[in-house]
């Protein structure tokens, strides 16, 4: 067993009674009427008459039913199931007796309540285990006290405490009322990893039944009696602001209650305050359709205040940045210039990718109810704490007067790290003096900004006469940030190495998009290495393994960010599982591996071309994310990442003219569809006992490289520019 001291995380364990009024139970009464908050018939435990709060994560009912609060936003990464699983494991209760509830934002009880960087499980692993173990320990102490024994005389498992040398047993439900009075232990024991019963199994999504029966779960579904609806209109182009509009006419339209220009500027904005437009036309009314009609009738005067950029301009800027731009970050090992001079062969290639939108299927929306001295916000946010801060600044209210509750979120991908739509809802609510739900149309959502930046990188490799890689350089520029990780692979594996990250300006707003920068870099780097391996006459997997070998035995430079053994490990695993080296007629293979968000993923793609149309027949994925918490859900995440990677690198792009994107909805913006998805994706996990790392992002980046490499085999043509469908050899 591992002993773990609870004090560093003590705030999580303040007893609920001591923090009465702190907000734990003000949560989501609107969901409580739904069926699955009452026990399933097969659960075997009755609905409790009384509940006892053990700590900020756990509430136990007198019948033994357990409520576990899931602290982080649920964006489809399945933390509402996997985080409570970790608590339940250490608490040691049967999963059928567990109900899950979304916790509200509460910085006193929870840490890192956000969904981003594939960090939910990684950052909360210890806190969640501790919460469960602390609860278990307190229940055991209560039972020991009851029986006049020591805790060491007892065992606890599956919600039942037993006397080791006797017959007595007591259930968690029976002892819960007594556990409330027990002092929070200073130190608790965690289970040995080999004793896990729940972690590592496949547990079904706790919201499954609500999803398939259409229960209100999402922000857009939220309703409160008396609330108004609102829609916004932002300027049609980046570089424009609103001057005025036909206010009187709009206000006289059916169903319209109010229309005005709202300023959502926040003092000293933080990183998550990034947004396309600060002044917006807001229209308030009773029904979405009437608001949509009013939006159509808008006649606004827009003022041009900045440059109206085009895609041609973006390309020019990136080229200029690569030629003479300001370096943000770099790394140099050895003497790459001299090594290139000595090289027998030099390969230099340029890769690019366009702006893309997140396009979560649920458009941006938020509920806000602002009064004189308080603000209540409910909706889909990946960063409730940042939203709380921004709303507090906007309204000049102290933080404790702002509450944020999270709904289930219809897709995140980084889009809802940015809090502007919650801030806008608050500004509108303040103006009308009542509760309001702000709804974006798809067009508002797709044209507002916060895009994945557009990128351009030049890779260069030098081989000696024995085909050893003696020099490597990468120079990458982006609007506004370069896509280079100077200390990632192949840093540490090449004697002479140079990496330079370059920025360039744009007034198109950008943000984190699933696996930021990695979503481009992996594809470029892994396609480039494939080409270098070919020039060296080496098998692409062997070529990479040679490099990892160098990084393991005799690493170059001060440090690198990856563990070369684990990197090589996933490549070897995928090589074995895909039977690398075998061939099938008309089936073309590509491989790639990438490390990001602390997780290692290698993928092999088998593709066929059918009249220029890509068909991905099968994908093998080898993943090292440490301990796997919820196996089937983890596979789902990786499969989704692969499909997302194929989709965006093949089909998706935003192009600009006069400061505005040409694509405003799914008629012009192409997202991957059923018939274009890989037919089969098999996922293999490296089994180890390393603390778990993230899965939301790492499956995506290598898919782009493996796809590009397979496409080369199929068409004889390398793919340098995304989306690949714009190349002549393939059909979109």
């Amino acid at each position: 067993m591992t002993k773990i001291v609870t004090h560093y995380n003590r705030r999580s364990f303040i007893k609920v009674s001591a923090a009465a009024g702190g907000g734990m139970l003000i949560g989501f009464s609107w969901l409580n009427g739904c069926k699955s908050n009452t026990p399933e018939p097969e659960a075997g435990v009755a609905v409790p008459k009384e509940w006892f709060e053990i700590n900020g994560y756990i509430k136990i009912g007198d019948t033994g039913m357990v409520t576990i609060y899931s602290p982080n936003p649920e964006i489809g990464q399945n933390v509402r199931t996997s985080m409570p699983m970790i608590v339940a494991e250490e608490l040691d209760v049967p999963w059928e007796n567990v109900l899950v509830e979304q916790a509200p934002l509460n910085t006193g009880w929870y840490q890192n309540q956000f969904a981003g960087g594939s960090l939910s499980i990684r950052l909360s692993w210890n806190a969640l285990r501790m919460a469960g173990a602390t609860g278990r320990r307190m229940l055991m102490e209560a039972a020991a006290k009851e029986w006049g024994l020591k805790v060491s005389d007892l065992t606890a498992s599956e919600g039942v405490i037993k006397e080791i040398n006797g017959e007595r047993t007591i259930t968690y439900g029976e002892v819960a009322s007594k556990a409330v009075g027990i002092e929070v232990p200073k130190e608790v024991e965690l289970k040995s990893i080999k004793d896990f019963k729940l972690i590592g199994t496949s547990v079904k999504n706790v919201d499954g039944e609500k999803i398939v029966t259409g229960k209100p779960l999402f922000g857009l579904d939220f309703h409160r009696d008396g609330m108004q609806l609102a829609m916004i209109q932002h300027p049609p182009a980046f570089g424009m602001t609103v001057k005025d509009f036909n206010e009187a006419e709009i206000k006289s339209m059916p169903g319209v209650k109010d229309a005005f220009i709202v300023d959502t500027t926040v003092e000293e904005p933080g990183g998550f305050d990034e947004k396309g437009f600060k002044q917006l036309i807001a229209i308030v009314g009773e029904s979405t359709w009437q608001l949509m009609q009013a939006k159509k009738a808008l006649k606004a005067n827009w003022e041009t205040t900045g440059e109206l950029e085009s895609s041609e301009l973006h390309v020019k800027r990136l080229e200029k940045a690569l030629a003479s731009g300001e370096v943000q970050e770099s790394r140099r090992d050895g003497n790459p210039e001299a090594a290139f001079k000595k090289a027998a062969k030099i390969i230099e290639r340029t890769y690019s990718a366009p702006f893309i939108a997140h396009n979560t299927l649920e458009p941006m929306n938020f509920f806000a109810n602002v009064t004189e001295d308080s603000a209540e916000l409910i909706g889909p946010t990946q960063t409730p704490e940042a939203l709380e801060g921004s709303v507090s600044k906007l309204l000049n209210l102290p933080l404790e007067k702002v509450t944020v509750n999270m709904t289930r979120i219809g897709g995140g991908f980084g889009r809802r790290l940015y809090v502007h739509f919650g801030v806008e809802a608050a500004a509108i609510s303040k103006k009308i003096g009542g509760p309001v739900k702000l709804i974006y149309s798809r067009e508002d959502d797709m044209t507002q900004g916060t895009y994945r930046p557009t990128y351009r990188s030049v890779y260069k490799a030098g081989l000696d006469e024995n085909n050893n890689l003696i020099s490597f350089s990468v120079k990458g520029a982006g609007l506004p940030e370069g896509p280079v990780f100077p200390n990632r692979f192949p840093a540490g594996a090449v004697e002479n190495y140079l990496a330079e990250k370059i920025k360039a300006p744009t007034n198109v707003t950008t943000g984190a998009w699933r696996a930021p920068r990695s979503n481009f870099t992996a594809g470029a780097e892994q396609a480039f290495l494939d080409e270098v391996a070919e020039a060296a006459g080496k098998d692409p997997i062997d070529f990479r393994l040679e490099l990892f070998d160098r990084a393991i035995k005799d690493p170059v430079g001060e440090k690198h960010e990856y563990e070369a053994e684990r990197y090589a490990g996933v490549l070897k695993l995928v090589k074995e599982k895909a039977n690398w080296g075998t061939t099938k007629p008309n089936v073309h293979r590509g491989v790639a591996a990438y490390f990001c968000h602390s997780t290692y993923v290698a993928e092999v793609f088998d593709i066929v071309m059918d009249k220029g149309q890509l068909i991905v027949q099968k994908v093998w994925c080898a993943v090292d994310c440490g301990i796997v918490v919820n196996r089937d859900a983890a596979e789902n995440m990786i499969q989704g990442g692969v499909i997302d990677g194929v989709g965006h690198s093949m089909y998706s792009q935003l192009t600009f003219e006069n400061g505005a994107p040409n694509q405003m909805n799914f008629d012009k913006y192409q997202l991957i569809r059923h018939s274009q998805a890989p037919k089969e994706i098999e996922v293999f996990f490296v089994e180890n006992e390393i603390d778990p790392t993230g899965l939301g992002e790492p499956g995506l980046p290598p898919a782009i490289g493996a796809l590009a490499n397979a496409l080369y085999k199929a068409t004889g043509q390398r793919y340098y520019n995304q989306p690949f469908m714009t190349e002549k050899q393939v059909v979109g």
Binding site: G76, Q77, N78, K204, N205, G208, E209, I211, V212, T213, G214, P216, L217, F218, L220, D221, H223, L229, P254, G255, E286, S287, T288, W289, Q290, M292, Q293, N359, T360, L361, E362, P363, R408, I409, G410, G411, F413, S441, R442, D632, A633, N636, Q639, G640, G641, V642, I643, D644, N665, F666, D667, L671, I672, R673, H674, S675, A677, P678, K679, I681
Partner: protein, 154 residues
């Protein structure tokens, strides 16, 4: 504004709305049946799929005035207890990620299976191509459709 009597999930609902209002917003705003989702509003994503009689239709482009006395079924009315074979198959395969597209996927799949109880992979892809899943659960959706087809009680 005009009066309509709509048959939704076996119940008749009386409404006074703008006749151009798409059924999607009648369901969501006026009847508080929010299982049917808004994704694009232009018949491109399938999130708003409902049944009109036995056919899967996009409710975002279907004005309330065009419905007449045809039966409307939404995800809330697909089965009494969430036990339609397609819903059960979705639970069995643990299909969803964010879940937002799934009501539309289920409504489209259930109408499709009624017409074609033993579809091939290509037929499934063809029938489902109008339903976007931004999270990329396509493989599981296809598997769940086959699972449902195999129960042969659709």
């Amino acid at each position: 504004m005009a009066n309509f009597n709509l048959k939704i999930n076996g119940k008749t609902q009386q409404l006074d709305v703008d006749p151009t209002t798409p059924i999607l917003w009648v369901l969501r705003d006026h009847l508080k049946l929010v299982g049917t989702k808004y994704g694009c509003g232009i018949s491109q994503c399938g999130a708003c799929t409902i049944h009109l009689g036995d056919n899967a239709v996009r409710s975002c482009q279907l004005p309330v005035s065009a419905v007449g006395n045809q039966d409307i079924t939404t995800i809330e009315g697909l089965s009494e207890n969430g036990d339609h074979p397609v819903q059960k198959a979705w639970l069995e395969e643990d299909v969803y990620q964010c879940g937002y597209c799934q009501a539309g996927q289920i409504m489209n799949a259930s109408a499709f299976l009624k017409k074609n109880p033993n579809p091939t992979d290509e037929e499934i892809e063809g029938a489902m191509n109008g339903n976007i899943c931004r999270c990329g659960t396509y493989i599981r959706i296809k598997k769940a459709i086959k699972t449902a087809a195999n129960t042969k009680t659709v």
